[in-house]
């Protein structure tokens, strides 16, 4: 049946690679073409597709999203005011509807050996700089949304660090969405490469102006050299009507350390796929996650962490708060190859249900083929403890405030792993605000 049935994503492809003639390297055109074929060869995943068992694509397909085909240039730096986080000092890169916006970005002083900015700008300036780097980590047989992103590959964010370069201030990547007359899909492609021993902090934020309907299908390729260290805070705060997809593909060389903090608060439908591949021993990957799912909201996380070499450590710690008719999916897979002795992995997914009608499908899995490993997983789905609630109320605190305080306490473990105090405050405040308007049953 492959290739026979139209899979519904033709509109995502139609306007994709129509770039001005003569711009862009041939090798990229080839990659786009291959990806287009891969898209057309696939059928739409259904509930019978294991990875999509709990998550329907129906709502997404009904929107008939079309590829963003024009840049938004009308925004002024003042328009960013409501989006910036007070007290957060960063090298700021702004993308609007998936396109790099140099007029809104403030890169600041960068040390030698750091290249930062828009993907298209870099491709235009130095067409071969990314030839060996872009579209490498994600692999040849690309799943549908990765293939769609590659087929439309046009712009995004790039950070290239030479070996041993350290950046003190964080890089802040703001992905801003602005509603268009027709529902549009933006497919930014982000590439982060840290050379051996390089260190950086990246804060990646998805925000919108207004509550419009749009779709983001972003893909990140992150490659960490030996001993490289990346702290990666990801704050998804899309519009309440948006659809959001992220595919994050991480490759770690020996001794590298990655910590990703995934905060999911926005979008009506959000799916995040985190894929980690260890390429050298003694690398560490720490994935933290916090999601809120309220009425009409779906938060879907898929983790695929492969311990293919010995002596690597991974942590997967995800917490969710669900209310109203909110839904969440946690599908975490940690696999340990036969030769990957001394692997150390601990996966946990805990959920706090504030209503009877919320639903979570949680499926942590360990696939272990080595015998000398330390691996564990645990999952809980619970409610607020009446004892705790009574304790707070007995001190004069109203029931709604007491519930919020307990939820924030539950979320605090994840929030505190964010890199900056200003960011922690921002996220706590956003979580508090959402819970304040949450229905209690």
């Amino acid at each position: 049946m492959n290739g026979v049935l139209p899979n519904g994503f033709e509109s995502w492809l139609s306007a994709a690679p129509e770039r001005p003639a003569g711009v862009g390297p041939d090798w990229l055109d080839d990659q786009r073409r291959v990806a287009q074929e891969q898209v057309r060869a696939q059928s739409v995943p259904t509930s019978k597709t294991e990875d999509w068992r709990y998550t329907s694509l129906k709502g997404l397909l009904e929107q008939g999203f079309a590829q963003v085909d024009e840049s938004i240039t009308a925004l002024q730096p003042d328009d960013l005011e409501e989006i910036l986080i007070p007290g957060l000092d960063s090298h700021r890169v702004v993308l609007v509807n998936g396109r790099y916006a140099p007029e809104l970005s403030v890169l600041g002083d960068l040390p030698k050996g750091v290249r930062l900015g828009g993907l298209r700008a870099l491709l235009d300036a130095d067409p071969d700089a990314l030839r060996e780097r872009l579209n490498r980590i994600a692999g040849d047989r690309q799943p549908l949304f990765l293939a769609l992103n590659t087929a439309g590959l046009d712009d995004g964010f790039v950070a290239l660090f030479d070996r041993a370069v350290m950046l003190e201030r964080p890089i802040e990547l703001i992905h801003l969405s602005v509603g268009m007359d027709e529902p549009r899909v933006a497919q930014p492609r982000h590439l982060i490469v840290l050379g051996d021993g390089a260190q950086a902090t990246l804060i990646e934020r998805y925000v919108s102006l207004g509550e419009s309907l749009y779709c983001t299908n972003s893909v990140l390729e992150i490659s960490l050299g030996r001993d490289a260290v990346l702290q990666h805070d990801r704050i998804q705060m899309e519009s309440a009507n948006a659809f959001h997809l992220t595919g994050l593909y991480l490759s770690q060389d020996a001794n590298s350390r990655y910590r990703g903090v995934n905060i999911g608060l926005g979008a009506r439908w959000a799916r995040t796929e985190l894929v980690t591949r260890f390429r050298g021993e003694q690398a560490e990957c720490d994935l933290q996650g916090l999601y809120l799912a309220g009425d009409r909201q779906l938060m879907d996380y898929h983790l695929d962490v492969a311990h293919s070499v010995p002596r690597c450590t991974s942590r997967e710690n995800f917490k969710g708060i669900l209310y109203g008719k909110g839904r969440a999916v946690f599908d975490g897979l940690v696999s340990v190859a036969r030769d990957a002795q001394k692997s150390d992995a601990a996966m946990s997914n805990r959920n706090l249900m504030l209503s009877e009608s919320a639903e979570v499908d949680t499926k942590p899995q360990l696939e272990i083929n080595a015998d000398d490993v330390k691996c564990s997983h645990g999952t809980t789905v619970g409610r607020i403890e009446p004892e705790m609630l009574f304790y707070l109320r007995s001190r004069g605190i109203s029931a709604p405030l007491a519930r919020r305080m307990l939820c924030l306490g539950f979320a605090g473990e994840i929030i505190q792993t964010l890199s900056a105090e200003a960011l922690r405050e921002h996220v706590s405040e956003q979580v508090g605000q959402r819970l304040e308007s949450a229905p209690l049953n």
Partner: protein, 251 residues
């Protein structure tokens, strides 16, 4: 201040309080003693409004208001405070944030201005000094990982901050060694005032060596069967609860 008349209450369908009469005047300290299962903690919880306790008869009024129809937070806002026998751990909830939320909730309910961060911290420092506590407990999550003694001290600290009109200390001595007991008792004594009444619920007489009550009540099978001065506590200590039970049955 507090008047309880003919109070009957069930827990899980079983009657625990069986017609309890009790009253406390302003500034008075009353001790309630009794063997396990006599209903001491149930009484404390019914007064503070905990769920799961069904009042079937009687009344409890606090400064003329019907206490039993109020939510737990409304009782606290009126000036009632329960020091828990087992203070609850709240992982992730910062103690300072908690104390500020509690105090401001009470001030707000009374129509008084809430405290800003600066005046709140000043107040906290002052209260810590009165109780001779150090400020390390402020930075931690409420009771999380606290030792038994730290938990009880945190209860007394909350009481010092919230300045209740009536404090109920539910077996505050349980699980404390003699040094911790003294610290807690000193804290309680520092908070005694002509406007503040206290109900000290305890199984053992030893707490009353440190907190001198005005009146001692003996609770048995859900009723107060004897009241007297502090010498009653000593008599109980000497003769044991069997003495009272035997008398109670005879009566």
């Amino acid at each position: 201040m507090l008047a309880v008349k003919g109070l009957r209450a069930n827990v899980g369908g079983k009657e625990i309080l069986r017609g309890l009469d009790f009253s406390v005047g302003p500034g008075e300290v009353h001790a309630i003693m009794g063997p396990n299962g006599s209903g001491k903690s149930t009484f404390a919880h019914v007064l503070s409004g905990r769920e799961g306790y069904e009042v079937t008869a009687g009344s409890a009024t606090f400064e003329g208001q019907d206490l039993l129809t109020l939510e737990p937070e409304e009782r606290a806002q009126l000036g009632l405070f329960l020091a828990f026998q087992y203070p609850v751990e709240l992982p992730g909830v910062n103690n300072t944030y908690f104390l500020k939320a509690a105090l401001n909730s009470i001030l707000k309910a009374r129509g008084e201005p809430e405290l800003d961060a600066v005046s709140f911290l000043r107040l906290i420092k002052e209260k810590l000094k009165i109780l001779h506590l150090d400020d390390s407990l402020l930075k931690r999550a409420v009771n999380a990982g606290f030792s038994g003694g730290e938990k009880k001290r945190n209860e007394i600290f909350q009481m010092a901050l919230l300045e209740p009109k009536l404090a109920i200390l539910d077996e505050t001595d349980s699980g404390l060694d003699i040094d911790a007991l003294r610290v807690v008792a000193d804290g309680v004594n520092a908070l005694r005032s002509p406007e503040r009444s206290m109900i000290v619920v305890t199984h053992y007489q030893r707490l009353l060596d440190y907190i001198q009550p005005d009146v001692v009540h003996v609770l048995s099978k859900g009723r107060i069967i004897r009241s007297g001065g502090k010498e009653l506590a000593l008599e109980l200590e000497e003769k044991g609860y069997g003495w009272i039970d035997a008398e109670g049955q005879a009566a």
